[in-house]
């Protein structure tokens, strides 16, 4: 392991750390006192996770379009050189084939880490994911399973992506029992969550916020660590309103929380991390504390995952709620080209919604 990790810097010794300010996300101090780590951006953290996953499991494979030279976002750099072309290889341009083939690999006990180049391209593979991956264990009576399957895809707006390079399709997959959907918010989270997703005995769709690939820089421990799935994290404590989000949207919500603080509104911000199965207890406990809920995501509002969270919380906390559950999301249109700033749930939209919810 040491020889592998020296690629990324010198080996760290175990030293208790303090909470450092992070550029794009706040987080509570680590409970397990990780040693101070070097700063990496999101794609480097994911790259590290993939290296570790391939190292620790000799039957792990990484494949997809253009992964051989490092991928269009550089997440797979160095893997082909290190592990060889038999374990890290390019596939032809057929998403349905890529995912179907990955399910087959996983069914035979391998760890298939398939990359879909953009989440917008995942729809030909949707059939395989919904009809095969999600139901494999169920319909074979647990004789076979494709738990080794992890599908990674960059999702979300990137500023200039327009209709087909900016979509957030997480809601479609949340509707399928049998699949897990995981979305990290920052490099440190991404590495831990990706390693957990790869090692989880269920098929996982791992969406990476492409806007943050280079922008989000954080200190990431270089050793092998996993963050638990299906556990939401309260990343900012507050008492007036609970905000729930995931991925790149959290940094926007954080800015809104800071602005709201100046107006005397104390916001509690929760990172859901795993969208399905999602951590209802944490969100419920928070809403019982504050009495108000706001959900924000980039996907269009109608039928987005915010609707599921809203319905579940209303069901559980109806009498405690002091205002209707607010959803600040994308508009109900295809992701636009020039109108992207109008479409997106911006900081001001979130802030307005916080204020109107608190002053309901």
């Amino acid at each position: 392991m040491a020889t592998g990790l020296t690629r990324f810097g010198r080996r760290m010794r175990w030293v208790p750390s303090v909470c450092n300010g992070r550029q794009f996300s706040t987080s509570v101090c680590d409970k397990d006192h990780n040693p101070p780590a070097k700063s990496f951006n999101l794609y480097t953290a994911i790259n590290q996770a993939l290296h570790i996953a391939m190292e620790t499991d000799p039957r792990a494979y990484v494949f997809g379009e253009d992964v051989g030279f490092g991928g269009v976002f550089r997440c797979t750099t160095g893997l082909a050189d290190r592990f060889g072309k038999t374990r890290v290889f390019n596939t032809p341009l057929c998403e349905q084939g890529i995912v179907g083939f990955a399910i087959g690999l996983a069914a035979m006990g391998n760890r298939a880490i398939a990359e879909i180049q953009f989440a917008d391209y995942i729809f030909p593979a949707f059939d395989q994911l919904v009809n095969e991956a999600a139901k494999f264990r169920y319909r074979s009576g647990n004789q076979f399973n494709c738990g080794g399957l992890t599908v990674r895809a960059p999702y979300g707006a990137v500023g200039h992506g327009a209709l087909y390079h900016s979509q957030s399709p997480e809601a479609f997959f949340c509707h399928v029992p049998g699949l897990k959907v995981v979305i990290p918010r920052s490099p440190r989270e991404a590495k831990g969550l990706l390693l957990s997703s790869i090692r989880d005995p269920n098929p996982v769709v791992f969406f990476e916020p492409k806007w943050l690939y280079r922008l989000s820089v954080e200190e990431v421990p270089e050793h092998d660590y996993m963050l638990p799935l299906s556990e939401a994290q309260v990343i900012r404590e507050g008492s007036d309103i609970t905000l729930v989000g995931w991925g790149a949207q959290l940094s926007i919500m954080e800015q809104a929380c800071i602005d709201a603080e100046k107006e005397g509104i104390s916001c509690e911000l929760i990172d859901l991390k795993t969208l399905i199965p999602w951590d209802k207890e944490t969100v419920e406990a928070s809403v019982r504390k504050t009495g108000r809920l706001l959900i924000s995501h980039e996907a269009p509002v109608t039928g987005g995952f915010g609707a599921e969270i809203a319905a579940s919380i209303v069901e559980r906390c109806f009498l405690r709620l002091e205002a209707p559950v607010a959803r600040v999301c994308g508009l109900d249109t295809p992701f636009p080209l020039v109108f992207e700033p109008l479409y997106m749930p911006t900081k001001n939209k979130v802030l307005d919604s916080i204020k109107s919810t608190v002053h309901y």
Binding site: E65, D66, G68, F69, V72, N90, T91, P92, L93, C94, Q96, G97, D120, Y121, P124, H160, G161, A162, L163, Y164, H165, L331, D332, T333, P334, P336, L337, V338, F339, L342, Y343
Partner: protein, 435 residues
């Protein structure tokens, strides 16, 4: 010899297949079909039909209708003499290719100056395919393209100023600023998109071809012989949609031509390393349609093949699969640093620049003088500059345009007092939409 340029191109092409490291046995690669070899003979100004090329015997089982028709044509001397094109046709082709090249170069400039944004994919080097095919079409014939669609739009007749405005995201663009680089549409010129996703356009092209056949045979509109051209790349030929549509088109004998622009690279994936049998034209006969391979860097060869295929479709004889061996001089998109391709490969194809080749052909065959061609280049330069000025001066779309066209009648907009949908009212964009 006046046509030595093209003959030398033929030999370079066959050697290029062997220098590339792949497992295909060089002797089994016959780059040109019999159909093309006969074209080669014409260009040598000795239309001898007496000595048929040796390829015909091998190819007869594969290519069904195409070679037969071409053989018949050889016997009747073309009335325009021994050249393939007239002066007018030559100038038209030249102008179209220069327009494509100048426009794309201007796009690159504008992109690096920040005037356009997003993902822009340029067509430099592949102009021969677009010009060779699309210039043979009528206005009612349909073209379905990919994300590399600026030049297809220009060849089909969409004005350069509209395409440039669309790239800048302005309301005067051909899609009113809603699509951008990868989504060029034109109802007037029957350009049915611009598709960001590979292979998505092919089934749609199959549908438009079906409409044309239906109109002709069921609705008895005798003059409806419209043809559809579907353009796509080598990477797409490994996608399921491609094979599904080859099957449907051949099954129903649709008036469609499948044009593969094989530029050997799908972003960073080399065609030979991604495909079990890199010769795409062979996949046509597997489905029951002729498969033809043509040198896509030579507009005249492309045009000859295209004439045949389009005529075949118009007659009602069904689809054709045409693989054009071509190359893109720039990277996959303007964001691609283009580090993966071998410089010698790039140099090899740069030497086969279709525009230079046509220019040389026209001058050597005395179809046009240097001055005439320069005048065309100047005219095109001015046209493209004017397009940029027009695009710059055009307004950005109004905020209220954001919610338009999601549905035919978006809920809440409803029918206006005049009985039409509110969103069809030109005054609709005055800010009444809910944002």
């Amino acid at each position: 010899m006046s046509s030595s340029t093209f003959s030398s191109m033929n030999t370079i092409k066959s050697s290029c297949f062997t220098t590339e490291n792949h497992s295909l046995n060089p002797s089994s690669i016959i780059p040109t079909s019999s159909f093309l070899v006969s074209t080669h003979k014409l260009r040598f100004n000795t239309p001898t039909a007496n000595s048929p090329p040796c390829f015909i015997k091998n190819r007869q089982t594969h290519i069904v209708a195409v070679s037969d028709v071409k053989q018949k044509q050889l016997k009747s001397t073309p009335s325009v003499g021994n050249l393939l094109i007239t002066k007018e046709e030559g100038l038209e082709l030249y102008e179209d290719m220069i327009l494509g090249r100048t426009f794309e170069d201007m796009c690159a400039q504008m992109y690096y100056r920040g005037k356009m944004f997003g993902f822009v994919h340029l067509y430099n080097g592949q102009e021969a395919v677009s010009t060779g095919f699309i210039k043979l079409l009528k206005q009612q014939d349909c073209v379905v393209s990919t994300y590399r669609d600026h030049v297809h739009a220009l060849s089909k007749g969409v004005p350069a100023r509209e395409v440039m405005s669309e790239l800048f995201g302005k309301t005067t663009g051909c899609v009113r600023g809603q699509g951008g680089s990868m989504h060029m549409f034109s109802k007037e010129h029957n350009l049915i998109g611009g598709f960001a996703f590979i292979g998505e356009g092919i089934p749609i092209a199959t549908g438009t071809a079906f409409t044309s056949k239906y109109n002709r045979e069921v609705l008895k509109q005798a003059d409806c012989d419209h043809v559809t051209l579907a353009f796509f790349g080598d990477g797409t030929c490994n996608n399921g949609q491609f094979f599904e549509c080859l099957n449907m088109a051949a099954l129903w004998k649709l008036p469609i031509v499948f044009v593969v622009e094989n530029n050997l690279w799908a972003i960073g994936m080399s065609h030979e390393r991604a495909t079990s049998d890199p010769e795409i034209w062979k996949k046509g006969p597997a489905f029951g349609m002729p498969g033809v391979h043509v040198d896509g860097m030579d507009v005249l060869k492309v045009r000859e093949v295209a004439k045949e295929a389009v005529a075949r479709a118009r007659r009602g004889d069904g689809p054709t699969l045409i693989e054009c061996e071509t190359y893109r001089f720039r990277g996959h998109s303007l964001a691609d640093p283009d580090e993966l391709r071998d410089p010698s490969e790039k140099a090899h194809y740069a030497a086969r620049d279709p525009i230079t080749a046509l220019k040389k052909y026209m001058i050597e065959n005395k179809l046009a003088g240097e001055a005439e061609l320069k005048a065309i280049e100047k005219k095109i330069d001015e046209l493209v500059e004017e397009a940029v000025e027009f695009a710059d001066a055009s307004p950005h779309p109004d905020r209220s345009q954001l919610l338009q066209n999601v549905f035919a009648d978006p809920k809440g907009f409803g029918i206006g007092p005049d009985g039409r949908y509110r969103c069809e009212d030109p005054k609709f964009t005055q800010g009444t939409a809910h944002v």
